[in-house]
């Protein structure tokens, strides 16, 4: 091994509960280099990152050698290791809220890191904190130091976490899924920032992620991890152009997400769902004794239509009002103005038997595969829940048969009906959620960020399944997502939403090929997958 390597990992093995989760892993990282470590969840990539700084969970046993600048970290006493963490190795984690102390102003928070590692006066520490926050784009002049974490957006919080990681000018920065919790535009900004920092400070950056698209723009080299082993390690451009390993190829294909189904204009078909002039306002806390506060207008005069058999994408960043709109369309929340016509009948003001009948025709799949099932109900009971909408519910035997049928349609065996949701992975849970949506044979299914929480490979499988089901069952989809890849892969037509309004609509291919509105262009530009097909990767950011 050459002396120029900043980080060297040799024969790393991690064992948890008698399972080898990292197997004979060896990695090198030079100063100023960006190495991407990519793999599905459970591939051992995060554990690899944690074993570098020796922060593995207690149950884990770790063998192997980790060297930073020639110093062996793996045999160092814990007290010395504490000095290394934060000073020589900075870390950024996925969840920006839980990484910050909610009771400390962010200036003090960053300054605390300085005081932990260096004899510094309060003023010196504050100055260092100010510099670091300036660097990450939170200038002290604007009062950023005085703010508390809850006053910041997700992206800003992640910037604070990065400031804390770099304030001691570490030689190595480890970022574990730093942008997974952020929306596309913020993600692009944070990634650019990390790249600039690595280049300008000649810092090694180990970027751990499940999303190959994120690395495409950023990393010099990529190591692909699968079931605890590195299956391929090569310069980014090479992996993207010609992956040698089958698993890398699969990951790449999933990240690219080519459209899977024939897109036909279905404008001629009748509109089965028509949304006209929807306004959704949320009351705000009153600040004056005499006047009500002006309400927050989350959805502002939105109209859209879905034709039979069509998949419509609704895209926008978080906070653009797309989830609020979806809830109105599902008649879960009242609208202040506008109407929703489902199969030609007014849905929002429907009552009793009409409401039940209409509800049967529109079902939904929600974002969180863990939260959308009552943990105490079996899969069979959960899937059968919408039978409540039927005037005369089917008998127990009939019910079982129907549940088995939809389970098979989504690619699960009928036997799983007896089990509880906790026995299933995220992808399987979304399949169960789809089965639940299918059971009443609806005309429209609404998806609220339904694949956002899934790994790329699983996401691809679920999207394939959805495309198949749409062809076979002639069901329409309203697909809400912040992820342009997903929308591009599945939608026939798209609506782009910003600050409660639809700013652009049209045929999916046309909108993605030549966006008219500046916001659509910004969304497209920020989307990480673009570089997979378009630009020379190794030139990124230079």
């Amino acid at each position: 091994m050459s002396a120029a390597n900043l980080l060297e990992i040799a024969d790393l093995n991690v064992v948890i509960d008698a399972t080898r989760v990292v197997k004979n892993l060896s990695l090198e990282l030079r100063a100023g280099e960006i190495l991407g470590l990519v793999g599905a969840s459970g591939s051992g990539k995060s554990l690899t990152a944690l074993s570098i700084v020796r922060l593995l969970p207690e149950r884990a046993a770790c063998t192997g050698v980790v060297r930073l600048n020639g110093t062996t970290l793996s045999s160092m006493p814990e007290s010395q290791m504490q000095a290394i963490r934060g000073r020589d190795i900075g870390m950024v984690f996925q969840e920006p809220m839980s990484a910050l102390n909610p009771l400390l102003r962010i200036g003090d928070q960053v300054a605390e890191t300085v005081r932990l590692h260096r004899q510094a006066t309060d003023a010196e520490a504050q100055a260092a904190a100010r510099d670091a926050l300036n660097l990450v784009g939170l200038p002290g002049e604007q009062g950023a130091l005085e703010r508390f974490p809850y006053e910041l957006s997700g992206g800003q919080r992640q910037r604070v976490a990065i400031a804390m990681a770099i304030v001691m000018s570490p030689r190595l920065l480890i970022a574990d899924e730093p942008t997974t919790a952020l929306d596309v535009i913020t993600q692009a900004r944070v990634l650019l920032l990390l790249q600039e920092l690595a280049r300008s400070r000649n810092m090694g950056l180990l970027l751990v992620t499940h999303d190959l698209a994120v690395l495409a723009q950023l990393a010099d080299r990529v190591a692909v991890m699968h079931q605890g082993e590195i299956v391929e390690q090569a310069p980014t451009a090479q992996i993207l152009r010609k992956p040698r390993d089958a698993y890398s190829a699969a990951l790449l294909a999933a990240a690219g997400l080519q459209p899977k189904r024939s897109k036909v204009s279905r404008d001629a078909a009748p509109a089965i769902l028509q949304v006209r002039g929807i306004v959704r306002e949320y009351p705000r806390k009153r600040t004056s004794l005499w006047h009500r506060a002006a309400p927050l207008r989350a959805v502002d005069d939105v109209s859209l239509a879905i034709h039979a058999g069509e998949t419509v994408g609704l895209v926008g960043e978080s906070g653009s009002g797309k989830s609020s709109l979806l809830r109105v369309v599902l008649a879960l929340e009242p609208a202040q103005a506008g109407q929703v016509k489902l199969l030609g009948e007014e849905f929002l003001s429907a009552k009793g038997a009409t409401l039940s009948r209409l509800r049967r025709s529109i079902q939904a799949v929600f974002q969180d595969p863990y939260g959308s099932f009552d943990p105490k109900w079996t899969v069979g009971q959960l899937i059968a829940e919408p039978f409540f909408l039927l005037g005369s519910p089917p008998s127990a035997g009939e019910r079982r048969r129907k549940v088995a049928a939809v389970l098979e349609q989504v690619g699960l065996s009928a036997g799983v009906a007896e089990r509880l949701p906790r026995d299933f992975s995220g992808g399987e849970r979304q399949r169960i959620a789809i089965a639940r949506a299918l059971i009443t044979e609806p005309a429209v299914i609404a998806f609220d960020e339904a694949v956002s929480a899934l790994d790329v490979l699983i996401r691809e499988q679920v999207l394939k399944l959805l495309a198949e089901l749409a062809e076979r069952l002639k069901v329409s989809y309203l697909f809400v997502s912040h992820d342009l890849h997903v929308i591009r892969a599945i939608a026939d037509r798209v609506y782009v939403m910003q600050q409660g309004r639809i700013v652009e609509e049209g045929n999916a291919d046309a909108v993605f090929a030549s966006p008219r509105h500046s916001y659509t262009r910004a969304l497209l530009a920020a989307s990480p997958g673009r570089s997979l097909s378009e630009r020379p990767i190794n030139e990124a950011g230079r």
Binding site: R327, L330, L332, L355, S356, R359, I362, Q363, A364, F366, Q367, D368, G371, S372, F373, D374, P375, K376, W377, L382, E385, P386, F388, L389, A433, R436
Partner: protein
């Protein structure tokens, strides 16, 4: 191991609580002596082979009195928990499901009850409606209502943020049905823990009320009144205060250990 200590409080608590409940159940059918028969000749005997816990100033067997007292204590505390849960849990579910003004009214009503010192109001209630076990149950039960309402509401609000409530609404179910079918079963662990804690507070409250003569009336034995009567005889027969005192202490300890053990178990499962 941390696992061991968790199980220790659960097991110890369950054993002690189970022991007292069993004693109360046995006393329903059998006690070593009949406490209805006074035997002045045998009065104030210290603990001996025949009367393990001695006899009181009227010659009654203290062990039998303690056993019957356990019955009163368990009965009053348990029923008051049931009253509190039966009224409080639906109120909490309703407040969480309806929000808005319903929530305000229910929760401010709870604050009103909380604003009174519990034992004092219990004394007021029993003083107005007359002393007796039934009125003690009602008095203690009223104070369990806001506790259950608050715990239920807090837990239910958390459940309402989860997507499965949305899924249930898409399936056409209303808030009340969702509360009953989805929310309540998911709060079961939480409520059992709270019930255990309220049970132990109920034991103390019952002892307090009967000490001032406002719970079960003579000749029904109760630990609080045994303590009261022992007070004047402390110099002569200290064991008369010791046994009921220890009974209250041990039972409450057992219930608290059980509650703590259950709480950790529920916390781990959630």
């Amino acid at each position: 191991m941390t696992l061991g200590s968790r199980n220790t409080s659960l097991i110890a608590g369950a054993c002690i609580t189970g022991f007292f409940v069993a004693v109360a159940a046995i006393a329903r059918f059998w006690t070593p002596f009949d406490t209805g028969i006074l035997s002045i000749a045998d009065k104030l005997r210290p603990p001996n082979a025949r009367h393990w816990f001695g006899t009181d100033q009227l010659g009654r067997d203290v062990l039998s009195m303690i056993m019957l007292g356990a019955q009163t204590s368990v009965g009053v505390a348990l029923l008051s928990v049931v009253i509190g849960a039966l009224v409080g849990v639906p109120l909490g579910l309703l407040a969480a499901a309806r929000r808005g003004s319903t929530d305000e009214i229910v929760m401010r009503g709870n604050d009103l009850i909380f604003a009174f010192p519990a034992l004092l109001l219990a004394i007021l209630i029993t003083a107005v409606f007359g002393p007796g076990a039934v009125n003690a149950i009602i008095a203690i039960g009223i104070f369990n209502i806001p506790v259950f309402a608050r715990v239920t509401r807090a837990g239910a609000l958390q459940q309402w943020t989860r997507d499965y409530t949305l899924a249930a609404r898409v399936a056409g179910k209303g808030p009340l049905r969702i509360s009953a079918e989805h929310i309540l079963p998911n709060l079961a662990g939480l409520l059992i823990v709270q019930g255990t804690i309220q049970f132990s507070l109920g034991v103390i409250a019952e002892a307090g009320l009967s000490y001032v003569g406002l719970s079960a009336q003579p000749p029904t034995p109760s630990w609080g009144r045994m303590l009261n009567e022992a007070q004047t005889l402390t110099a002569l027969a200290p064991y008369l205060a010791l046994f009921p005192g220890f009974a209250v202490l041990l039972f409450v300890l057992g219930l608290n250990l059980l509650g703590e053990g259950l709480r950790r178990r529920v916390g781990r499962a959630a």
